[in-house]
Amino acid sequence: MRKLYNYCDQFCKDQIIFVTKEDHEAPSNAELVEDDPNDPYEDHGLILPNGDINWNCPCLGGMASGPCGQQFKDAFSCFHNSKEEVKGSECIDFFRGMQECMQKYPELYPQEDDNESAPSGEAEAEAEAVLPADSTKEVASGTESPATS
């Protein structure tokens, strides 16, 4: 590691340090404050600490707020709360309702995959396939869920 301008420590406003890969090999000893998982202020990914779905998660994009938002919420809630062996198998009607609604707005919900029959994983798959990324770097603004394409 080489510090550029050693006299900078006292006089210079802008310090510059150059480091090689070896310099940074040893793990950091910087201390970070432990996160409180129940912090009420924090943004919480898709699932809130109490188990509810965070409809405002950026990862959902506009799914819960658009014209078919209510149908999407119904379908996804049913799926999320489903305790069946094939998760969400009792939610077929909700998903059908959602798909019917979405077909009315092809511009908003481009039908990329028409053969979605099994409800299990369909909600996530549809959320990911259909999601228009809103701002070019919205996914970089701290969503815990995996970045959608």
């Binding site: 802008d14 310090q15 480091v19 950026p58 707020s65 707005y105 990324a133 809103d134 770097k137």
Partner: protein, 620 residues
């Protein structure tokens, strides 16, 4: 004489009462301030009316005239209102009696379904099928959002997600539906599509194309249907400005006279670009050739200019100015266009980046084909012999065809007066608390909000992600969340193939900084960075750096050895009282969560090199 006095005494109170009434009615018509004492005087005059006979006649004539003027004004207002009311009723009736017969409606419905902004007034764009129910413009909106930009749209989405069936009305001055601003100075310029000014589509960092509009027109509900549609929705009233806000009555008045009442209101009015006084004073010929860049129409105009003219000068060395300079610079070779950028600082992003990095950036901008004039203060601007002539204070002269002023944003706070809201004197904008609330039921988000950041103090941020974050937070708080500004927003800038950075927190070059850079190895190429930052791949230019000039305090040590340093990638920490308040990730991507965490902790770190290790800057 006695009779006169008695008669006068009887008349005096009457005169006083009628004069008060007339004064109130005729305030707008006639305003004679100096006459006021006269009204009171006659009542107290006991010497008799004969003494001031002439004055009294004048007094009566004046009062009579005021009453007439006031009456005439009141009458004309009433008539006008009635006329307007009649017009509207007849229009509604004609609309409901002719469902699909009108030839103009099919054309308008077609326009609606195209992926273009709806620019006509909303009554005309109503689909013909909704003819059965009487179509009335909304007079009440449970959620009223003033301004149709990024913050407003983020709030609308947040409200709809949290309040099922919410009815949200966005009122915007612009003719366009809500759109995102960053591509106007970045991606849209890199597009190979010649019709980009029409489609307004660009390629994202993941390769997918998308429009700058957040959602196509079909996402929105028509404003006339907002109150009746089953599951609620978001409606946009374009081309209307909110002129007056009545906080006590919870209603606003629009530029066309409509009044809309609300339950919760968001002010997201953003701002308007600042102009230089020297340009404003320079006259029409110069103003015609000046662009204040902010909106879609400005992008379209500048794009046209870049193809038709030979020289463009950008005044301003911050984000917008530098991005536009780079975007135009890249085209300069193909178009035979001269691109000049001038600013008072010593280097591009001089107010953001530490000097050594600012110098390095300036070099890169120059490599993009831009003539950069640093330490340039404009003295005056004139239009001479078909060219705009810019004279600098140090004597340099620049002759150009077109000027782009990118010298900052003036937050739009005109509503503060009528609404009785506080304006911040340090940062500008509406002053709001940590929960973005100005008063009960009124929130402010985006560029116009001067808010209290629990971690970093009171500030006002003019970045896209902040508009998204604050808009979302305002929407949450409008639906009862009561959360403070907590999730720190970030920003980014791309200045060509070699320079891409993300930043978070307070990034002010006047703060002391510590920069930790990876020593360049043969493997470090700009290619990976450009793929990350989404800009096109250019030839690998040599990353020559300038030996950073150092601000020396007291002693004058021997000047540092001239070294070619490569600031290829690294992390720069901005410190305030030894606590990290801002971080720039220089060509290092996908590390924002760590940066966010460090700022959130707000801890004093003895050795920032150890903190820098957390970023793994040597890896991709």
């Amino acid at each position: 004489m006695f009779k006169c006095k008695a008669a006068w005494n009887k008349l005096a109170p009457l005169a006083r009462a009628s004069s008060t009434l007339c004064r109130q009615a005729g305030k707008r018509a006639v305003f004679r301030h100096e006459r006021t004492p006269q009204f009171v005087q006659p009542a107290h005059m006991s010497s008799g009316p004969s003494g001031g006979g002439g004055e009294n006649t004048l007094y009566f004539v004046l009062v009579g005239a005021t009453c007439l003027a006031g009456g005439a004004y009141a009458y004309s207002t009433l008539v006008g209102d009635r006329e307007r009311y009649q017009q509207r009723i007849t229009e509604i009736e004609s609309r409901s009696s002719k469902p699909a017969a009108e030839p103009s409606t099919p054309a308008k419905t077609q326009l609606e379904t195209a992926a273009q902004a709806v620019s006509e007034p909303t009554e005309a764009s109503e689909p013909a099928s909704a003819a059965a129910s009487p179509a009335v413009e909304p007079t009440h909106a449970p959620y009223l959002l003033i301004g149709g930009g990024t913050a407003s749209f983020a709030a609308a989405r947040s409200i709809r997600a949290r309040d099922p069936g919410a009815r949200v009305l966005i009122v915007t001055e612009e003719d366009d539906l809500p759109y995102m601003r960053p591509p106007l100075s970045k991606e849209l310029w890199f597009s190979d599509d010649p019709t980009v000014t029409e489609t307004l589509c660009f390629k994202q960092w993941n390769g997918k194309e998308r429009s700058i509009y957040f959602q196509p027109p079909s996402f929105y509900v028509s404003p006339t249907e907002l109150e009746s549609v089953e599951n609620g929705g978001v409606a946009v009233l374009t081309g209307r400005k909110v002129m007056h806000m009545d906080v006590r009555g919870n209603k606003v008045k629009l530029s066309d006279g409509t009044e809309i009442s609300y339950d919760k209101c968001l002010i997201a009015t953003g701002g308007i670009p600042r102009n230089l006084q020297v340009i404003e004073r320079a006259g029409d010929e110069v103003m015609k050739r000046t662009t204040l860049f902010r909106k879609i129409e400005d992008f379209k105009a500048l794009e046209k200019v870049s193809r038709e003219l030979k020289s463009i000068t950008i005044i301003g060395g911050g984000f917008l100015g530098s991005e536009l300079a780079c975007a135009l610079g890249r085209r300069s070779a193909d178009l035979g266009l001269e691109v000049v950028q001038m600013f008072p600082e010593k280097g591009n992003m001089g107010k953001v980046l530490p000097e050594y990095l600012s110098n390095w950036t300036t070099d890169k901008v120059k490599k993009e084909g831009v003539k950069v004039l640093t330490e340039a203060v404009v003295k005056n601007v004139t239009y001479k012999e078909g060219k705009v002539e810019i004279k600098l204070k140090d004597g340099r002269v620049v002759k150009t065809d077109h000027v782009v002023a990118a010298v900052g944003l003036e937050p739009s706070v005109e509503l503060a007066k009528s609404a009785g809201l506080e304006i911040d004197s340090d940062f500008g904008g509406f002053r709001v608390n940590a929960e973005l609330q100005a008063r009960s039921n009124i929130w402010v988000a985006g560029d116009a909000a001067c808010f209290y950041d629990i971690k970093l103090g009171r500030r006002r941020v003019e970045h896209h992600d902040h508009a998204v974050v604050s808009g979302r937070l305002a929407g949450e708080n409008m639906t009862g969340a009561r959360k403070p500004y907590w999730h720190q927003s970030m920003f980014w800038s791309d200045l060509g193939p070699d320079v891409g950075y993300e930043a978070i927190g307070i990034v002010d070059s006047s703060l002391p900084t510590v920069g930790v850079f990876a020593k360049a190895t043969a493997k470090d190429t700009p290619k990976a960075a450009t793929e990350q930052s989404g800009t096109g791949i250019r030839s690998e230019s040599e990353t020559e750096a300038v030996a950073g000039s150092v601000a020396v305090g007291k002693a004058a040590p021997t000047p540092p050895p001239q070294q070619k340093e490569d600031y290829g990638k690294g992390v720069i920490f901005y410190l305030r009282d030894k606590v990290v308040v801002g971080i720039v990730l220089w060509n290092v991507f996908n590390r924002m969560p760590i940066a966010r965490k460090i700022i959130k902790d707000g801890e004093e770190h003895a050795d920032l090199n150890e903190v820098a290790k957390l970023f793994n800057i040597h890896e991709e």
